[in-house]
Symmetry: C2
C-alpha cells in the first residue's frame, strides 16, 4: 500500500477571478479522502458565453470520485464562492459546512434548486474545529466585504494548511469581525505547511483602507446633497449598507431599499444576528410621502445588471420610484472588469435625466474587500508558511503574488486550475488534470467544449443560412431549393439579390451533381454548404453558418 | 424667400466617443449649402454588434441633400474622424479637404474602397483659408496624439465658428505642432459665435501632461530592462513611436517594427515630412541577429486586436519574433473602454510566458491626447465664444462639459446627435432629426434598425431551432417533421430527448390542425414556432429562435 499523501488541486479560481473551487485530499494515492473548499460561479458575457446563465468550474474530477468526498466547506457567501452549491450538490452529495450567515444563504440556494437544505451544517468559529474525513477544519473569522467571512485552518496528519479565502486586513469593518493579527499569528504558532492566499488585489500598491474611513465623506454627501440620494453597492456588502443607512439617518434621511437581493440580504443579516442597529426601513410604497431631500434609496444593480433597480431607475422608473433633475446617484462600488460598458450606459441615462452621478473612482465612497500588496505581505509574515500558493486570481495575479513572496525571501509555488500539488513533504507539482468550465444553460449543465456555445457565437458573428431541399429517394430534386436568411442582409431588407443568387446556385449544384453524390446526404450537405458560403461571400462579403435540411421522399 | 441661417447638426460623436460627423449649413431654410466635418467610425462589440465590421454615423440626412454638400473637411487622421471616408464617399460625392498627412491617409482609404483619391485636396495651415461653398475654412494647427491635427476656423456671413476637433494643450508634443495659446487667441480676436469643443477628458481633473514628460521614464526603462522590450501603442501615435525609438537608440537598442499599420504610418509620416530623425529600423527578418538586450520591438495591437502583432506575440509568435522569460512588454497606451477583457487576456498570456508586463496605469508611460478639465477651461477662455457647444463625448461628458462652462460664467448648449442648432443669432435648438447608426456588415452598409444584427443577437442568446415540413398542396403532412438544433443542448450532446420531444409535439400539432390552418403557411409557422418554444422551455429551459421551412408539393 502506498503512503498517505496530502494534495491540493485548484479546480476554479486559480486562473480567473470568480468561480472558486479548491480540492484538498489526504490518503494513499488513488484512495485519498477529499474536502472541496467553495463552489462558486462567475457570470457570462457576450464575447465568450452568450445565452449562458452561469459559469462554474468543471468539477468532473471530484464528481468521478464523489464517493470519497467527505464534505464541502464554504468560506463566505459571495456568489463566486457559494453560487454553484445548489446546482452541483446533486452530483457531489456531501455535507456542507459553513458559519451561520453563510449557511442561511446556502440553505436558500439548496432549496431553490430542489435539494435538502438540512445538508448544510452550521459551524462555530475558531478555536472550534469540525472533523471532516481525515481533516480537522477551523473557521477563522477574517474581514471581508460580507459578514462572517472565514479563513480556514485545514489540519491533516501531514500538517496544517491556512486557506485565507477572500480577505482584507480591516481593523474596523463595521459589520463582521475585524482583522485580528494576533489571532492569525496564534493559529500559525505551531508551523504551517502551506498558505493558500487570495491574490486579487496584488497589483494595488497601497495598504487597504478601512470601511470606517468612508464615514466622513459619505456623511458629508448625505448632509449636503439637495435632492434625493440613491446609493448602489453589492447587496451582500452589508457593512456598506449600514454605513450608508446610518449616514442617511444622521442627515435626516429615511431609507428605502429597492431590489429583492438587497432586502433578502439585510433580512438574513439581521436574523442571523450579524447586522445590528440598522436604521428603520420604509416600504417602497412610502416613496412620495417623504420629501426627496429626506430620502436615501439603497438600490441593487451596481454592475449595470439589466433587471436590477439601478437599470430600472436609469430607464425611468423602478417600482414607483422615479428620479428627478438634481438628484444624486452614488455608485459606492467598483466596476468589475467587463461591466464598463453597461455601467457607462447607465451613467449616460442618468445624465440625460439631469441626475448627478458620483462614482467611487477617487476612493471617497468605496473601499475594496481584498488585501492589497502590503496587506498580503503582512499575511505572509503572520503565517510564515513553508510555501505560499497564490489562489483566486488570473494567471498574472498568481505570478505577481508569487514574485512578491519570493522578493521577500519566501517560497512560492504557482498552481493554476488543474495543477495538483503534493504537500506531504516539500510542495511539488505531481499531476496536471484537464479542466474546463461548466455552464448552466437554461436548465441544463453543459461543458464549455460541447460546441453549443461555439455554434451560437458563430451564428452571431456570421449569420445563419437555412437551406431546405426536397428530393426523390434517389436524390433527384422535386422542386427548387428554398433558402431562408437569419441575421444576414438579404433582399427583404437590401436589394442585393442574395437569396435569388443562392437559390440559383444551389439548384445548379443539384442539377449537375453525380448520381453518387445525390445518394449521400452528407455529400449534398457539403456541396450545398460550400456553394452557399461562396455566393454569400461574393454577394455580401460574409460566410454564414449553413444548415441544410434534406427531405427525401420515400415513394412506396 | 426666407433669410439665410447658420446651422449646426451633429450626426455622430455627440453622444458617444467615436464616429465623429458634424454638419454645418448656411443659406435659406431648406436650401442651405453644407459642409461635413469628419466622417469617422467606431468599432463593433459582441454585446451590441456581433459580426459587424465597422460602425459609422447615420449620414442619411446629408445623403438626401448631397447635391447641396459643398465639401468634406477632415480634422485629423484618426479612424474615429476619417475611417468612413471611403465607404460613404460614393453617397456624398463632395471634395475632401485636409492637411497633407491626413490627405495621404485619406487617399489610401479612398483608393482601397474604389474611389478616386484625387478628390482629396491638400490644404495649407492657417492663416491660409479655403473657400467651400458659403464657408471659409482655416486649418489651425493644434496638438493631439497624431501629426497635423487641426482645429477649424469656420467663417460664414453669419460669423465665425471655432471647431476644436480633438486636441490637447501640449507645449512640446515632439511630433506635430505645439499648442500655441497666442495663435488661438489671435484667431478669436474678432469674436467667435460658437466654440464646438472636444469633451472626452472632461472628467480628468488635472492639467494634461506633455509627451516630452515621458522621455525620462521611458529612457530609464530602455536602459535598465534586461531582455528584449516590446512596446505597443496606437500606430498613429507617431510622437510616441519616436519617443520610444529614440530612447531605445540612446540605450543601445535597435528598433524593429511589427505590424503593417505601424509601418505604413511611419512611412507616411516620413514621406509627408512630419516625422524627422526617426532612428533606423531593422527588418523583421533581422530578429535573431541582434542580442535581445539590444532590441526594441514596436508592435501594433495595444487594444488587444486579435490579428495584430501583440495578440500574435502573446499567443507565441509573430512573423518570427518570439518572446522569452524575462522580456518586458510595455503598453504605452490607455485601454479604450470595452477592451478591458481582451487586453487582460493578453496580460495573462504574457505572464504565462514569464514576460514582465508594464501598463500605463500609473502615468509613467503614457499621456492622453485629449484636453483635461483645466485645459478645456483654458480653451474656453482663449476663444471666449458667445456659446460653447460640447462635442465628442458620451452624453455624460457633454453634460459635465456644459456645467463646467456655466460654472465659470459662460453659456453652453448641449446638442446631441440629431439636434439641429441655429447659430444665426442667439444659439437655439430648432429641430430634432431621427438618427441611427450605419454598419458595414461584410461588404454591405446596413442600418442599426434593419433587424439583421438583432436576429444574430437573438440566435446568440437563445439558440436556433430549424423545422422542416413537407406537405401536400392542401397541407397534409407527407412525412414527420424534421428538426435541427443549432446552439442548443440537443441529444447529440446531452441525453435529454429534446429533438424527439420536439418532433413528436410538432407532428401532433400538424395532425390536430384544422384544414384552414393547414392551408396557411403563416398559421402553420405560428403554431409550430409556439410549440417548439414551449417544448424547448420545458425540456432545457430556453426559448430559441425558430425557423420553419414549409415545403408544399404541388401535385400536377
Amino acid at each position: 500500500m502506498s503512503k498517505n499523501r496530502l494534495i491540493y488541486l485548484p479546480l476554479g479560481g486559480a486562473g480567473e477571478i470568480g468561480m472558486n473551487m479548491y480540492l484538498y485530499g489526504y490518503g494513499p494515492e488513488g484512495a485519498e479522502r477529499y474536502i472541496l473548499v467553495d463552489v462558486g460561479v462567475t457570470f457570462p458575457d457576450m464575447d465568450t458565453t452568450p445565452g449562458v446563465d452561469l459559469i462554474m468550474a468543471d468539477a468532473d474530477y471530484i464528481i468521478q470520485r464523489a464517493d470519497r468526498l467527505e464534505g464541502i466547506i464554504i468560506t463566505h457567501a459571495h456568489e463566486d464562492h457559494i453560487g454553484a452549491i445548489g446546482l452541483l450538490y446533486p452530483k457531489l452529495q456531501a455535507p456542507i459546512y459553513c458559519r451561520p450567515f453563510t449557511a442561511a444563504i446556502a440553505q436558500n440556494k439548496m432549496e431553490r434548486d430542489g435539494n435538502d437544505p438540512k445538508k448544510v451544517q452550521e459551524c462555530a468559529p475558531w478555536p472550534a474545529m469540525v472533523e471532516v474525513g481525515p481533516f480537522q477544519i477551523g473557521f477563522v473569522p477574517i474581514s471581508h466585504s460580507i459578514p462572517e467571512a472565514s479563513a480556514l485552518v485545514i489540519d491533516s496528519p501531514a500538517g496544517r494548511i491556512f486557506h485565507t479565502g477572500d480577505f482584507k486586513t480591516d481593523p474596523s469593518p463595521l459589520v463582521g469581525e475585524a482583522f485580528d493579527p494576533d489571532l492569525i499569528a496564534s493559529v500559525a504558532k505551531g508551523g504551517v505547511k502551506a498558505l493558500m492566499c487570495d491574490s486579487t488585489n496584488v497589483f494595488s500598491p497601497n495598504p487597504g483602507r478601512s470601511e470606517a474611513s468612508l464615514k466622513e465623506d459619505i456623511g458629508k454627501l448625505m448632509a449636503e446633497a439637495e435632492g434625493m440620494i440613491v446609493a448602489t453597492t453589492f447587496a451582500s456588502n452589508v457593512a456598506r449598507l449600514k454605513t450608508l443607512a446610518q449616514a442617511a439617518k444622521d442627515a435626516g434621511r429615511s431609507v428605502i431599499v429597492a431590489g429583492r437581493a438587497m432586502n433578502t440580504m439585510i433580512q438574513t443579516a439581521v436574523s442571523t444576528g450579524v447586522l445590528t442597529d440598522f436604521p428603520p426601513v420604509l416600504d417602497v410604497e412610502d416613496f412620495g410621502d417623504v420629501p426627496r431631500r429626506n430620502l436615501l434609496v439603497l438600490a441593487t444593480g451596481s454592475q449595470g445588471e439589466r433587471r436590477a433597480a439601478t437599470a430600472g431607475l436609469a430607464r425611468g422608473k423602478y417600482r414607483g420610484i422615479e428620479l428627478q433633475k438634481g438628484d444624486t446617484y452614488l455608485f459606492s462600488s467598483k466596476t468589475i472588469p467587463g461591466n464598463e460598458r453597461s455601467i457607462s450606459h447607465i451613467y449616460n441615462q442618468l445624465a440625460e435625466q439631469g441626475v448627478n452621478v458620483i462614482d467611487a473612482d477617487d476612493g471617497h465612497y468605496h473601499v475594496s474587500g481584498h488585501a492589497n500588496r502590503p496587506d498580503l505581505v503582512q499575511m505572509h509574515d503572520l503565517i510564515n508558511a513553508d510555501v505560499v500558493i497564490p489562489m483566486h486570481g488570473e494567471y498574472r495575479h498568481l505570478r505577481e503574488h508569487a514574485e512578491l513572496v519570493e522578493s521577500n525571501g519566501g517560497t512560492a509555488l504557482i498552481a493554476k486550475n488543474g495543477v495538483m500539488v503534493d504537500l506531504t513533504h516539500q510542495a511539488k507539482v505531481v499531476e496536471q488534470i484537464e479542466v474546463g468550465r461548466t455552464y448552466l444553460d437554461g436548465t441544463v449543465l453543459i461543458g464549455n467544449m460541447d460546441g453549443i456555445v461555439r455554434e451560437r457565437l458563430q451564428m452571431a458573428l456570421r449569420g445563419h443560412m437555412v437551406v431546405s431541399l426536397v428530393l426523390e429517394e434517389d436524390g433527384t430534386p422535386i422542386d427548387g431549393a428554398w433558402i431562408e436568411a437569419v441575421g444576414m442582409p438579404d433582399e427583404s431588407r437590401h436589394q442585393n439579390g442574395l437569396i435569388e443568387n443562392l437559390e440559383r446556385a444551389v439548384d445548379d449544384t443539384m442539377e449537375t451533381a453525380t448520381r453518387k453524390m445525390l445518394r449521400s446526404d452528407e455529400a449534398i450537405e457539403d456541396a450545398v454548404s460550400r456553394v452557399v458560403q461562396k455566393v454569400c461571400s461574393d454577394t455580401v462579403g460574409k460566410k454564414p453558418v449553413v444548415t441544410v435540411m434534406i427531405n427525401r421522399l420515400v415513394t412506396e
